[in-house]
């Protein structure tokens, strides 16, 4: 099984120009982002394929390229994996299409769903959203307690998502997270590389404190 990345960046190609997306992603990968997820529900599949192929060209093998939801696009674009929404195709179905070497992640919003996803062969989970976030307005975060519960109920790596930035990433990692997924803290920044680096620093701090 492939190594699961720690610092994930989620981008949405429909909200910005191709050039800007490329620039942001290149900078974030320079700062230490290890996996770039393309999540775009409004983009037609053929355009999505173009965007994924462009991401691959931009970052080469310096970071993983993960396609949200669409296993077919991931296969065609030679992505490193697919990330399935909680109500997406089941991970076992995705595995049969993608084979053993690709990374398959699943978003979950309950402990039950986490256990199910693990049983169906997910390589890692996104659990959240932890803090309140602009991506999900009006929905209070599920909090760190929820996150800790998920981490304790499965053996596969759990990534925190939802309102995570350089300031609070350490709290998430302290609960046993394998890593974090970030959207606006990196994408809305003038310096995606610096923010990515700051979040990476939070990882090192946690790791130093651990026995």
């Amino acid at each position: 099984m492939a190594v699961v990345p720690c610092l994930h960046l989620i981008v949405d190609g429909s909200h910005m120009s191709a050039n800007r997306l490329t620039m942001l992603v290149a900078s974030a990968v320079n700062g230490g982002v290890e996996a770039v997820h393309l999540r775009d529900r409004s983009l037609p599949a053929s355009n999505l394929l173009d965007v994924v192929e462009r991401l691959r060209q931009t970052i080469g093998r310096r970071a993983k390229v993960i396609v949200n939801d669409r296993v077919d696009v991931a296969m065609l674009a030679g992505a490193d994996g697919v990330h399935l929404p909680e109500r997406g195709l089941s991970p076992d179905a995705a595995r049969r299409l993608l084979g053993p070497s690709k990374t398959i992640g699943v978003s979950i919003h309950s402990v039950g769903a986490a256990i199910r996803a693990q049983e169906l062969g997910a390589d890692y989970l996104f659990a959240g959203h932890i803090f309140e976030t602009e991506s999900k307005p009006g929905e209070p975060g599920r909090g760190l307690e929820f996150f800790r519960e998920v981490v304790c109920s499965v053996d596969i790596p759990v990534i925190g998502i939802g309102g995570i930035d350089a300031r609070n990433a350490g709290q998430v990692l302290d609960t046993g997270a394998h890593g974090v997924a970030v959207i606006s803290a990196i994408l809305d920044s003038e310096h995606p590389d610096e923010v990515s680096r700051e979040i990476r620093d939070a990882f090192s701090n946690v790791r130093i404190e651990r026995p």
Partner: protein, 224 residues
């Protein structure tokens, strides 16, 4: 060497007679499984799962059920838009449109055994799709339709005739087709007709499918 392709095309000449697309919103509260069972009982020869809801998990469960029902009755089973769903459900075919994955890319994913349908916006797209190895075309909207709000202006049976002169692969007409006008579509050169509301919205789905089947078979017998 072309036997996989020949097998697909031979099957399509029969299977495209009455092609029913599902639509949950238009089915008056009845499930896809109910609608499909009744449509097949009436004589539908192909079923397309047209899934517009967010849950792909549920889509795969339903696709697997429809897959089994269609296989039992030797009816063609096609999945709309999502090639991964079609592959995961082991469907006979996948149908892609302008905004979906391109035909050539779809073929590279599904291999030779799966049927690929395509909806060409223009005649040139129809010709290119055949070169990219689409197996059949859905051409329309033949008549005005309220079902697909994004379907555009009606192209008439003239478009069916024109496309059928330009390509070798079979065509189904779609858009505003019912038992009264289906024969015109087949007479213009279509192998069969594709319908949504003319079957799934009818009180008696089975009778609706039967009437369409009779209209299509009537023209095909006269012309054969």
């Amino acid at each position: 060497m072309t036997s996989a392709r020949e097998n697909r095309l031979t099957r399509l000449d029969e299977a495209l007679r009455v092609y029913v697309l599902t639509d949950r919103e238009l089915s008056r509260g009845r499930s896809e499984v109910d609608i499909v069972r009744q449509a097949i009982a009436g004589g539908a020869t192909a079923i397309q799962l047209r899934w517009k809801q967010p849950s792909m998990y549920e889509a795969l469960e339903i696709a697997r059920e429809l897959r089994a029902i269609c296989r039992d009755r030797d009816v063609l089973f096609v999945v709309n838009d999502r090639v991964d769903l079609a592959m995961a459900a082991n469907a006979d075919g996948v149908h892609v449109g302008e905004d979906d994955l391109p035909v050539a890319a779809t073929r590279s994913l599904v291999g030779e055994s799966m049927i690929i349908g395509y909806s060409p916006p223009t005649i040139q797209d129809a010709v290119l799709a055949e070169l990219d190895r689409a197996d059949y075309l859905g051409v329309g909207p033949v008549f005005g339709t309220a079902t697909k709000s994004d379907a555009g202006e009606a192209v008439g049976t003239g478009r069916i005739a024109e496309v059928s002169r330009q390509v070798q692969i079979p065509i189904v007409g779609i858009g505003g087709i019912n038992a009264l006008n289906a024969s015109e579509v087949v007479a213009a050169g279509a192998t069969g007709v594709a319908v949504i509301s003319a079957v799934v919205s009818q009180e008696d789905v089975s009778v609706a499918a039967r009437e369409l089947r009779q209209a299509v078979d009537g023209v095909r017998e006269r012309s054969s």
